[in-house]
């Protein structure tokens, strides 16, 4: 049987037309699938925002959803492109990046971590690990402080990038706070880090001229967030959303540094602890008001962090005050700066006839002012935390007591230092105020020593009849020094003094306050 050429052509045309129709159908289905997937994803994101009870007002939800969508476009596109290969690729990236870290081979390590971020955008625990990984494990592999610092900034940048896709996420916000407080504010290299954070948050000409999309771009410094007067830039404190309908409690207004507004100006830059407090406060609000749960930390930890970070910030400011006071009068800085009492001794008596460096004195005054305000706020924070978590009461109360002492010490130091440059009545008023605050801090430190660094047996021997350690507050101030002197005499008879080291700190505060009172008179 033979086939007619015309029939063959007709058959071929039919087959081709059918194939073409089938292809168009497949392409149409694929395009529709992608569009539907996008719509479903958007819907899921909105549901998640609603489920986490973020502000539901018109402005808020649109903003959050928009940021989420835009921030995760890379992720979405990458996941779509890779399809089923995403899982194996992620496994490969995890194992190779971790082995590279162990081998100290950091070439293309950041690229792999970035790909992990893009491929696993929805896993908070991944981001918690990677931020910690970069800030600690990778930064410590660097030898130079500058490279350690930029690696930590890279960890912050990572968290920011995740945060762009997952706004108001308690896990990411807490990680940012931890990097600022634990790494930049409290590591062995903290002096270097703190000075850089302060300098870079102030108004300055950016050193990084490369664009963010440049291959060689890396975070080499923080962005300036303060203007020339030390006030926060409007871009970081302008709310981007209103309170959710029906919500009367605190809420995060969408601005970056919402909780630092009340402390401005910051003429000497921001402390890492201040920034950490701001993020911890955001996390606390998300937990208290919007019932978000941290993936790894307990509610108690999250709720207490703003108060604790305020305390650390206050101590940081107090140390800045001491440092500048010592430098202003040409006094030596402590050899071991990690020992707190070491900061108290050198400047107890300021050299006579020396006016001091006015710039340093001004900075010290600013630091003491801020220390007092922040310590006071820390007490307030602890007082709101205590009723929610009463199990930790005794620890919280001891911290509050030390904060009260810190506040008065800072105010006393402020007035005493300011009085040095004044004359006449103004000086007398400032000295009187300094004496008042020094007296208060000395008494408070006596009470701390008697309450927390003495056992019950000793308390029964030296406290007035009917008094015990919990009622120390009721003892008249003029009796405290005498009681403590008796306690010291008793302690001297003991074979073993388990509180000796702890007491040194508070005794140093008392000594400073008493000496300053004597000088002020």
């Amino acid at each position: 049987m033979t086939t007619h050429p015309a029939e063959t052509v007709q058959t071929d045309d039919l087959v081709r037309a059918r194939t073409s129709r089938a292809r168009i159908g497949i392409i149409t289905v694929m395009v529709v699938s992608i569009v539907v997937a996008g719509i479903m994803r958007d819907w899921a994101v909105r549901q998640r925002i609603a489920a986490t009870a973020l502000p539901g007002g018109g402005v808020a939800s649109k903003s959050a959803a928009a940021r989420t969508s835009l921030g995760s476009m890379d992720s979405f596109a990458l996941a779509l492109l890779l399809g089923g290969l995403r899982g194996p690729l992620v496994m490969f990236l995890w194992s190779t990046s971790e082995s590279q870290k162990a081998d100290k081979n950091l070439e293309d390590f950041d690229t792999k971590v970035e790909w992990i971020r893009l491929l696993q955008p929805e896993f908070d625990t991944v981001h918690i690990f990677q931020v910690w990984n970069k800030a600690y494990n990778i930064s410590v592999q660097m030898a130079s402080l500058a490279n350690k610092y930029t690696t930590i900034l890279d960890a912050i940048e990572y968290a920011r990038n995740v945060g762009a896709g997952r706004p108001d996420n308690i896990n990411i916000i807490v990680e940012m706070a931890k990097v600022y407080s634990d790494k930049l504010g409290n590591s062995a290299e903290k002096n270097y880090y703190k000075s850089r954070v302060r300098a870079e948050t102030m108004a300055h000409v950016p050193r990084q001229r490369l664009k963010r999309d440049d291959p060689a771009w890396r975070p080499i410094e923080l962005d300036a967030v303060l203007d020339a007067q030390g006030n926060l830039l409007s871009s970081v404190i302008t709310p981007t959303r209103s309170a959710p309908a029906g919500h009367n409690g605190p809420f995060n207004d969408g601005s970056e540094f919402q909780y630092l507004k009340k402390y401005q100006p910051f003429p000497y830059g921001l402390s890492p602890m201040a920034i950490a407090f701001n993020y911890y406060k955001q996390a606390q609000v998300l937990q208290r008001e919007f019932k978000q749960k941290h993936a790894q930390l307990s509610d108690l930890v999250i709720d207490s962090r703003p108060a604790l970070t305020l305390k650390l910030w206050a101590e940081d400011e107090a140390e800045r005050g001491r440092r500048n006071e010592l430098i202003a009068f040409g006094l030596p800085l402590p050899v071991d700066q990690t020992i707190k009492p070491a900061w108290e001794e050198p400047s107890i008596t300021l050299p006579t006839g020396v006016t001091g460096n006015p710039d340093r004195i001004t900075e010290a005054l600013d630091a003491y002012r801020l220390a007092a305000i922040v310590a006071d706020d820390s007490v307030a924070e602890y007082e709101t935390h205590l009723p929610l978590f009463p199990n930790n009461a005794s620890n919280t109360e001891s911290i509050i007591d030390s904060l009260v002492a810190l506040k008065d010490m800072a105010l006393g130091d402020h007035d005493f230092l300011l009085a040095q440059s004044k004359t006449g009545q103004e000086r007398a008023d400032l000295m009187a105020s300094a004496i008042k605050h020094y007296r208060a801090t000395a008494d408070q430190n006596y009470r701390i020593l008697l309450r927390y660094y003495m056992d019950d047996v000793m308390a029964s021997k030296i406290l007035p009849a009917g008094m015990n350690r919990t009622s120390i507050k009721e003892i008249p101030a003029d009796q405290l020094a005498g009681i403590y002197a008796a306690a010291r005499a008793e302690i001297g008879k003991m074979q073993y003094d388990s509180y000796a080291e702890d007491r040194q700190e508070y005794e140093a505060y008392i000594r400073r306050a008493e000496m300053r009172i004597a000088q002020a008179k």
Partner: protein, 709 residues
């Protein structure tokens, strides 16, 4: 007989002639003989290049008609997109990563295309009877098979050409852009940290795309001071920081096999001439200082006698040395506790003195285990100054070893000469502190800091003018220096000591960073004559810098990147020819999906077995029995033997499978290193030794396959 053959195959490794090289020859010759017997003798005389080319044209044209080349734009887009997601350390890292993406995409694309085209071609032609039109013509089956291989190789070449042009252009574009920006940054001082400025200047001057060839150092030694050319005695630091190792080799038949036999054997006697002098005052390291980088030090355990605790003042402690025995890779095989009853050997401050020490005979069976049937036991005798505050010096030929002469307390019955690894290497190896990434050099005050010395001999250097670039990728360990307000960089000085005229160049200051490459330009004039040392000194107390033979690159020449890329593409092309050959072979007797799977298995088989590594070493069966806690003796025996047999079979199979590691091209070109000529030779060797037998086998199978009525 079969078991012996399997064992023979299992023993063969790589392409080292001493390791079963001939097995592959045997396989190739067998394949050739089979092919000759089964028809090659008839078809070879009829072989026509023209007909083969015509067949290849058909395959090539068909592949082009299938729009195979359309996948290249997709791969190009993918590379560009993925390059945007990279987070490089710096500009050079960006180029390296982009190079890797380009070559990875090229390799994947060309390999997958080759597999799919070659695996599907024959089965589909047989299925849709297109093969009738070929086999019914006066074309031999040999011509068909070869034609198809050549045809698909041409397709691969086309893909490689497109991807190669893209890679070259894209990398040059990125490199040019980045180099321009670096120059701008340097000119404007934008965000340039002091530590990285020399690196950026190096990038700006030398460019980011390179293909460097390096001079090879003879050896690397660590001394307490820079030795002068005429110094017979060279000095090491004490406190177990540095040591002196001398390599020896003893044939296995000279060593007892077990402890009982060893008791009757004369002991090894070690004799050495040593001098001891006091160290100048060095910057003491704070023992309590917290490390500020992750530690990279392998713990070294040194015994101390009562009254010789490490914290005793140096003056109160007599100098002493500790003897250890290392294997060829410097892993401890006999600890100091097993030698001299665990006590350090006391030495006297002052002039040269002879120390003779008989090593216990119990170590001899341990040494014997280092030997193989065809090679002697190779080990190092290591002498380490144990007490700080002293330097310990020996002449390179001042250490001798032999079997003790029972009649002479100082003599040898059989002397054992040292066995340097290289003919021009020093007999005594002066070693630094062992670390996880290499040997470490201590930082100290400039006038007392110890040194690391790379020796270069008989190098051809144009010393008339200019500089010779040097690259160093070092690992740094620091402690107790970061609690300061300001940055304190680690200072590393490098200088050239010319051993022809004993002149020293002006030291260049560098600031190393962990895992990053640092660069410097050394004066070529200082290297005149080609016999010189590169001397490194760390002048930051508290810092330890790691050196290896491989982390230094003294640039001999910077060749053309384009040519280097061409070489890498050529190697990739050889790989695709191998892939095509395997795929065509598989497709002669399998349906195309199974052929694809088998092709991948053959390709990755050797690599996969290599990845299993230690899991296939003898004893794995016993280990599995222990892991699974099999109690029954019979069961455990069966399990153990089965696993061992399986491991041996896997090794045997993998030994005849192609080693695709020989086609690895990305590492060198990515690192800017000139691909050596032998890399092409190795790839060609694998192709010939594996591809040729397989093509002949494919021919034989296809010749007797009925594909047309």
């Amino acid at each position: 007989m079969f078991t012996q053959f399997v064992n023979l195959l299992a023993q063969s490794e790589g392409y080292d002639p001493s390791n079963g090289y001939f097995v592959r020859y045997i396989v190739a010759i067998v394949a050739l003989l089979v092919a000759v017997v089964f028809g090659l003798w008839k078809d070879l005389p009829r072989f026509s290049i023209t007909r083969t080319w015509a067949v290849s044209n058909v395959s090539f044209t068909e592949a082009i008609r299938k729009r195979v080349l359309w996948v290249t734009p997709l791969a190009i887009v993918a590379v560009i997109v993925v390059s945007q997601f990279q987070k490089p350390v710096d500009e050079l890292d960006a180029i390296r990563q982009t190079t890797k993406f380009c070559l990875f995409a090229t390799g994947m694309l060309v390999t997958l295309t080759a597999i799919l085209l070659a695996c599907t071609n024959l089965p589909k032609e047989i299925e849709n009877r297109v093969i009738f039109t070929i086999v019914t013509k006066p074309t031999t089956r040999l011509e068909i098979i070869m034609g198809k291989v050549i045809g698909f190789a041409r397709v691969s070449a086309a893909i490689l050409l497109i991807m190669g042009v893209f890679t070259y252009s894209y990398l040059h574009l990125r490199s040019w852009t980045m180099q321009r920006e670096i120059k701008q940054r340097l000119a404007n001082d934008d965000g340039v940290e002091p530590g990285i400025r020399p690196t950026l200047e190096y990038y700006a001057d030398g460019g980011l795309l390179s293909a460097k060839q390096f001079f090879t150092p003879v050896d690397l030694n660590f001394y307490s001071r820079i030795p002068q050319s005429d110094d017979a005695v060279k000095w090491t630091s004490g406190a177990s920081e540095q040591s002196i190792a001398v390599p020896f080799e003893i044939p296995s038949d000279m060593l007892p096999a077990d402890p009982e036999e060893a008791k009757q054997h004369p002991p090894l006697r070690l004799g050495f001439l040593i001098e001891v002098r006091r160290t100048s005052e060095s910057a003491t390291e704070d023992a309590t200082a917290v490390p500020t980088t992750t530690p990279a030090t392998r713990p070294v355990r040194i015994p101390y006698l009562p009254g010789m605790e490490p914290d005793a003042p140096p003056d109160a402690r007599q100098p002493s040395i500790v003897v250890e025995i290392y294997d060829r890779d410097f892993f401890t095989i006999v600890t100091p506790q097993e030698i001299n009853s665990g006590r350090p050997v006391d030495v006297q401050l002052g002039d040269r003195q002879l120390v003779v020490l008989d090593l216990p005979t119990a170590i001899l069976p341990t040494l014997r285990k280092l030997a193989a049937p065809d090679r002697p036991a190779r080990f190092h005798v290591n002498i380490r100054g144990a007490v700080p505050g002293y330097e310990y010096g020996v002449a390179s030929d001042g250490i001798a070893l032999g079997f003790a002469n029972p009649n002479d307390p100082m003599g040898f019955s059989v002397p054992i000469p040292p066995a340097p690894a290289k003919a021009d290497a020093q007999v005594a190896i002066f070693r630094g502190r062992p670390g996880t990434h290499g040997q470490q050099l201590r930082g100290d005050k400039p006038d007392v800091a110890p040194v690391a010395v790379y020796r270069f001999r008989n190098q051809q250097i144009d010393s008339t003018e200019g500089n010779v670039p040097v690259e160093l990728r070092a690992y740094l360990e620091r402690s107790g220096v970061d609690d300061a307000d300001a940055e304190k960089l680690t200072d590393l000085h490098v200088e050239v000591v010319n051993r022809t005229d004993n002149t020293r160049s002006v030291p260049i200051l560098l600031h190393p960073e962990n895992g990053r490459t640092i660069y410097a330009n050394l004066p070529a004039k200082a290297m005149a004559g080609g016999n010189f040392d590169l001397v490194f000194t760390v002048t930051s107390p508290g810092s330890w810098l790691t050196f290896t033979m491989n982390n230094l690159g003294l640039v001999q020449a910077d060749r053309s990147f384009g040519l280097n890329l061409l070489k890498s593409l050529l190697i990739l092309w050889l790989l695709t020819i191998l892939v095509v050959t395997i795929a065509v072979f598989c497709s002669t007797f399998l349906s195309w999906p199974i052929a694809v799977v088998l092709t991948v298995l053959i390709l990755l088989g050797h690599w996969g077995v290599v990845q299993l590594g230690d899991a296939l070493t003898p004893g794995i069966g016993r280990q599995i029995v222990n892991d699974f806690r099999v109690q029954d003796a019979a069961q455990s025996e069966v399990l153990s033997r089965s696993v061992e047999s399986l491991a041996r079979a896997l090794q045997a199979i993998s030994s005849v499978l192609p080693d695709i590691n020989q086609f690895a091209v990305t590492e060198d070109i990515e690192r800017g290193v000139w691909i050596p000529g032998f890399a092409i030779y190795n790839a060609l060797f694998v192709l010939v030794m594996f591809g040729l037998p397989l093509m002949l086998s494919a021919y034989v199978i296809f010749r007797y396959k009925e594909v047309a009525p």
